[in-house]
């Protein structure tokens, strides 16, 4: 029955073999187009790097732009002969450097980090000037190619910390990039806005396929560019920064350590954000990035440390305003409540004896707020004083946090710190389960003890008082691309848990701090009512940190400021002066008080 089937199977084998041989004969011997194709088949893939988005200030002034830069690539396999003397002359390097470059290249090839057949960066980030010279001579060196891309350039060096910098992607970042967008050698925002808005700024790479014959000569686009894609430039960012104000602030902070933040209260837009000491951002671009970065990051003054968001301080006396608001809301005092200045338990300063709330804020009376906190924490809800404090502290904590304290506000910059607001759980941990009550924790009454804030939170706090009870999360970008809008979460209004009516007391008290306080005259302006509050943060053994928050004008405020000057003594001095100068600059355009400006500039507080 199965006779002949073996033969049929064998015939099938042979048929397939014949079909294959015929087809092979056609494509290998008869149709020569394949071998022509192979000649030109070396399709070179060229990445077209997109232009990174520009960053401007709120008035459209350019802050960060791009300048062209060129990498020299080598395809080692194509280098048959190299006039090294000529090469060194054209590229302006020493024979020793050239030897090192080749040694490096051979090492990379041996370790499979590079291939002799693929274009490999040889000299990176040639400047525009280098390029002009090289362009005419590149043809002399076979196997070498120029690849253009752009590097960041900065119109002002006053915004280094807020804007951040861009550098080649690190090995770790590359490994953690789950989207697989980046490749080795790509540039990526490393800090500041550059990092936060990376996905908007970076744009989309394009690609171009070029036909190259076997001698490496480009024969033109592959299939007339049918598979090419153009690069799409990154989106531009319009920031909320007022560049004039920013530069003025940086000018005032020269030789000081600390920060200045100015916010437009009605919108939460950050008008200026200065971190001192800072660095020259242009150092972190171009060929010398690595050595400069090492220099800057090893500087003992920590210029890369973005103090407005990252430096945590105790809030000091400024915290008393928040205490007052919470106490009024909880109903444990009224604005008329008078408490004697009993300095037995807690020290005080200045001559006053028995102030009401406004007076207590103006004079920063410690015993007053000690008593206010005790009334809040021990309301007699529970007979157990430990339990009672716990209940009171939980309430207090909730109110304080509604001012945006105790956790990061969520500004559009990376690495924001949240400060610290103690809650019952915190003290349980700190006391390791042993009981605690008001008498253990009262130093938080006057903003000392466990409280921590960052300067940005204090500026936002000033904005909350200026707004009489609400804030928009501070942000630095007004508009992404052509949208004209910031990110949606910066369009949300946040209310505190305090009734807006209580804020008038704080506003009045802050007005009196400036108009009546003894040292605070430096914050006074002739035509504008400035409301402010000093803070002096202990900093043993160095001099205290000088702190001042303010907003102006009193009605319909246009600017809220917080100023921290490290180791500069009382808040009424350096910080109050700088705050008022910033307000003056923003509202009037220039200072009418050169004496105050001189006073600030003369102060050098770097230790």
């Amino acid at each position: 029955m199965n006779e002949g089937r073996k033969e049929i199977i064998q015939v099938v084998f042979v048929l397939v073999a014949i079909v294959f041989l015929l087809k092979l004969f056609v494509i290998q011997v008869i149709d020569r187009s394949y071998s022509d194709l192979a000649e030109t088949n070396a399709i070179r893939k060229e990445i077209l790097y997109p232009v990174r988005g520009l960053i401007t200030d709120r008035n459209g002034k350019l802050m960060v732009y791009n300048s062209p830069e060129y990498d020299l690539l080598i395809i080692l396999k194509e280098v048959h002969y190299l006039d090294t003397a000529r090469f060194c002359y054209v590229f302006d390097i020493t024979p020793e450097q050239l030897r090192q470059q080749f040694a490096q290249l051979y090492a990379d090839i041996r370790n499979k980090r590079a291939s002799e057949l693929q274009p490999t960066p040889f000299l990176k980030q040639l400047s525009n000037r280098d390029f002009a010279k090289i362009q005419d001579h590149i043809d002399e060196f076979e196997g070498f190619y120029i690849q253009a891309r752009t590097t960041r350039a900065y119109a002002s060096d006053a915004i280094a910390n807020a804007v951040g910098y861009v550098s080649e992607i690190t090995k770790n970042q590359l490994a953690n990039d789950s989207t697989k967008f980046y490749r080795q050698g790509d540039y990526i925002g490393q800090s500041g806005l550059e990092a936060y808005y990376e996905t908007y700024l970076r744009g989309t790479r394009g690609v171009r396929y070029l036909l190259r014959n076997k001698d490496g000569i480009i024969k033109g686009p592959y299939k007339n560019g049918r598979y090419d894609t153009l690069s799409i430039p990154g989106q531009d960012l319009t920031t909320t920064i007022d560049l004039d104000l920013q530069e003025y602030g940086a000018f005032l902070m020269k030789g000081k350590s600390g920060s200045i933040i100015a916010i437009e209260p009605a919108t939460g837009e950050v008008l200026a954000m200065i971190s001192g000491p800072s660095y020259d951002p242009s150092l972190l671009t171009g060929r010398n990035y690595s050595s400069n970065f090492l220099l800057i990051s090893n500087d003992t003054n920590k210029p890369l440390f973005n103090r407005p968001l990252m430096a945590q301080y105790r809030p000091g006396s400024i915290f008393k305003i928040a205490q007052s608001m919470v106490a009024l809301q909880e109903g444990v005092i009224t604005p008329e409540t008078r408490i004697p200045c009993n300095r037995a338990i807690i020290g005080c300063h200045g001559a006053h004896t028995n102030e009401d709330l406004r007076g207590a804020i103006t004079h920063s009376c410690n015993p007053y707020f000690y008593n206010v906190l005790r009334r809040m924490l021990n309301k007699g809800v529970s007979n157990d004083p430990f339990e009672d404090t716990r209940i009171g502290l939980a309430e207090w904590d909730k109110h304080i946090r509604s001012f945006g304290l105790g956790s990061p506000l969520g500004i559009d910059l990376p690495n924001e710190k949240g400060g610290m607001v103690p809650n019952p759980a915190y003290y349980d941990r700190a006391y390791r389960g042993r009981p605690w009550k008001f008498s253990n924790i009262y130093s938080i009454a006057i903003g000392e003890g466990e409280n921590l804030v960052v300067p940005l939170q204090m500026a936002n706090f000033a904005a909350i008082i200026a707004n009489r009870g609400f804030y928009y999360t501070p942000h630095l970008v007004k508009s992404i691309g052509k949208s004209g809008l910031p990110l949606p979460r910066y369009q949300e209004k946040h209310y505190t848990t305090i009734d807006p009516k209580h804020f008038e007391i704080a506003v009045e008290a802050m007005e009196r701090v400036v108009s009546e306080g003894t040292g605070q005259y430096r914050a006074r302006l002739r035509d504008i009512t400035v409301c402010g509050k000093t803070g002096t943060v202990q900093n043993d053994p160095l001099p205290d940190h000088s702190v001042f928050i303010a907003f102006a004008p009193k009605d319909n405020p246009k600017i809220a400021v917080s100023v921290y000057v490290e180791s500069a003594g009382q808040g009424a001095r350096a910080a109050a002066s700088i705050a008022s100068l910033m307000i003056e600059k923003y509202l009037i355009g220039e200072t009418q008080r050169p004496m105050i400006e001189d006073y600030v500039l003369k102060g050098q507080f770097l230790y």
Binding site: N2, I9, K23, I27, Q28, V29, A38, Y227
Partner: protein, 422 residues
């Protein structure tokens, strides 16, 4: 006693020689694919060095196969089948994904593909079943069982997303045919494939319907007007129309996107040369540029510049085409056909049905790989990722094929004993 005779005297050395030439040539080509200057073929950090280790271990495997008692393979056919099937199922759940396939089992740093070993295991099982005393191919029940034996591993391997290897199991149908199954099924399969491709080629399916209608009408009018004949013709025409109707559905809903693309590219080679058509286009350019005599060993430019992906595994034939030209391709094809003929010859001279069927299984599996692999590199078949036996780089595939072939040689060496046993 015959048993006392040395196995080396009874081995079929012609097959061993063909095997050796193919493996050696494959090894040289694997070296050539990744060749850069100053590389050493034995360097264990490159593919050729690793392949040498695979070859050496294959020799150990061959020794083992020859030492085992010849009855082992028949006696334990079902056990081997079961164990391999179990491993394949394990891979579905724990498998390591390599290049879109989830077919790898990892033991420490060592990975292997159970599906490569499933082939010889299934061959043993098929041979065992057909070799059962009293087995009759014309019984539907037996055919169903046979198709189950090949269908289950196929399904499991499909679950591993390894379509290519799963398709290899269709090669057994040819064995069934040799053992007496009606050729009807094979013809229907070929017919459906032709209709499938026609449907994809002809945009407007009504043109096909019209052609079927015309043919039907002509046949009805010209032939004898018997009722039964007209019924059969009508039924066939309706079935054809049904198949055409279902092609779109199968193509769009059953096949995965990359599979759809590969079929489209096969039908229209100029489509998407940098995308789905890239493999075939580059492969054809590489082979085509070889000309009559080739560019010479290690002199291929297309392969060196890494234009052809998966060059050392599935597209190894490109290196032959480019470096050794049409003459080299001819030699490879002749080598394979010679091997196939020799295997069929060995199968036919077996005294037991088990051994003969197993021999045909070997021939058909090798034939399927040979056809699909070379066919896809020259654009005659869609890109289905299966290796060229003994030639492609890879441990599992080399070991799998070695075991497959040498079990046959072991059975063949003892063929006279079977007769003695009765």
């Amino acid at each position: 006693m015959i048993r006392e005779e040395k196995i080396s005297n009874r081995m079929d050395w012609i097959t061993v020689l063909l095997y050796g030439i193919i493996v050696f040539w494959g090894w040289l080509n694997i070296f050539s694919v990744t060749y850069e200057e100053n590389q050493f073929i034995f360097d264990p950090s490159i593919n050729s060095g690793r392949q040498l280790i695979f070859i050496a271990s294959s020799i150990a495997i061959i020794m083992f196969i020859l030492i085992m008692d010849m009855r082992f393979y028949e006696t334990f056919a079902w056990v081997i089948y079961g164990v391999m099937l179990f491993l394949c199922i394990v891979v579905v759940f724990t498998g390591h994904e390599v290049g879109g396939n989830q077919a790898w089992l990892r033991i420490g740093s060592f990975g292997f593909q159970p599906s490569e070993f499933m082939k010889f295991a299934t061959a043993l099982a098929v041979a065992k079943y057909i070799g059962t005393v009293g087995f009759k191919m014309d019984q539907i029940r037996n055919q169903i069982r046979l198709f189950t034996i090949i269908g289950v591993p196929m399904a499991v391997i499909l679950l591993q997303k390894d379509t290519g290897t799963a398709l290899v199991f269709t090669a057994f149908v040819l064995v069934f045919y040799r053992e007496g199954m009606s050729p009807f099924l094979i013809l229907v399969g070929i017919g459906v494939a032709i209709i499938f491709i026609l449907t994809l080629l002809v945009e407007n399916e009504y043109i096909l319907f019209a052609i079927i209608g015309c043919v039907w009408l002509t046949l009805v009018l010209l032939g004898k007007k018997k009722r039964k004949r007209i019924m059969v013709l009508t039924a066939t025409a309706l079935m054809l129309i049904g198949t055409i109707k279902s092609v779109d559905f199968i193509f769009n809903n059953v096949l995965k996107e990359h599979q759809q693309k590969r079929i489209r590219v096969l039908l229209n080679p100029d489509l998407d040369q940098l995308g789905a058509g890239y493999h075939v286009y580059q492969s054809k350019v590489a082979i085509g540029s070889g000309g009559m005599w080739g560019k010479g060993f290690l002199k291929g430019t297309q392969t060196k510049l890494k234009f052809v992906p998966e060059q050392s595994t599935d597209f190894i034939f490109c290196t032959i085409g480019e470096e050794h030209g049409w003459v080299g391709s001819l030699m490879v094809i002749v080598l394979f056909v010679a091997l196939l003929f020799r295997v069929v010859y060995l199968a036919e001279r077996q005294k037991s049905r088990f051994a003969r069927v197993y021999g045909y299984c070997v021939a058909c599996i090798l034939f399927f790989h040979f056809t699909i692999n070379i066919g896809m590199t020259i654009g005659l078949f869609p890109v289905i990722g299966i290796p060229l036996p003994f030639f492609s780089y890879g441990g599992s595939s080399l070991w799998g094929f070695t075991i497959l072939l040498f079990i046959l040689l072991k059975l063949d060496a003892h063929r006279l004993q079977v007769m003695n046993r009765g």
